[in-house]
Symmetry: C2
Subunit: 129 residues, 2 copies
DNA sequence: CTTTATACCTCGTATAACTATATATAGTGC
DNA sequence: GCACTATATATAGTTATACGAGGTATAAAG
């Protein structure tokens, strides 16, 4: 097993704030990943990593999925895999779809507000495009 | 004094997630509010409330300002007001400007990723515009 | 001198995500 | 049939963050 620990010492906080940007968006992203069909846990992680900037650990996504399920936002079903461990597939419920729509709306509004705020800051960088 | 405590029981979570969307963006917003010139604490709150969706409490902004100051991102100076309590004006340092640019860049990238993820969700709502 | 308005500050608490680790299933080599 | 490995789900403990409630300070108004 080779514990290895690494223990990053967290003395450096070069991207401390970058991690914070993600907070709160993770739940919405998890719901969004299921919009087009059911996925299982690790699949959600891979999907979000490929489709957006969200690189989530397993210890992050499973508690969120369980919470969302407890709140009735999604359902789960075990599916036998042809090889390896069986997979628990998650699907959005109607309540989940509705909540996601509300969250997306709030996100869009919030995102626009912040973008407006950052316009003067970003302008200096966008010499191109 | 009637401590009162209130203890909101937090049984209702109608906008629990909405508050979470803001996390991590607050520090960036605080820096951004100072981009065009110095402001004092309450002024920052009012500015952000009028310019974006961010309604911050005093208990939120003051610890952040102190932290940013301790990190060398901004400076402060007391200024006598013509009436009432003196005001502590905050200004961005060069390091603060640089950090804000980096944060804005990361935010933009992250925001685009999430928006892309939410496109299928939002499309159904945007019948107009 | 009390009240009101403005402004700054801090403590305690609840919440959320992440790190590290544990558990479960099944295929592979011997 | 037993270790070893890969895949997958799960959770306990830590840390970071925002916020609500209260407190302090200054000065004008009554």
């Amino acid at each position: 097993m080779a514990i290895q620990r690494a223990l990053p010492a967290e003395g450096d906080q070069p991207d401390r704030w970058e991690a914070q940007l993600r907070k709160g968006a993770v739940e919405m992203a998890a719901l969004a990943s299921l919009w087009q069909g059911r996925l299982y846990g690790l699949e959600i992680i891979r999907f979000l990593e490929s489709q957006s900037q969200l690189a989530l650990a397993e210890g992050t996504i499973y508690p969120i999925l369980n919470r969302l399920k407890a709140e009735g936002m999604l359902t789960s079903e075990w599916v036998e895999a042809e090889a390896g461990h069986p997979r628990k597939y998650y699907s959005l419920t109607d309540a989940g779809r509705q909540r996601l729509r509300q969250m997306a709306e709030a996100w869009t509004s919030f995102s626009r507000g912040l973008s407006r705020l950052l316009e003067p800051v970003v302008q200096q960088q966008e010499k191109t495009q």
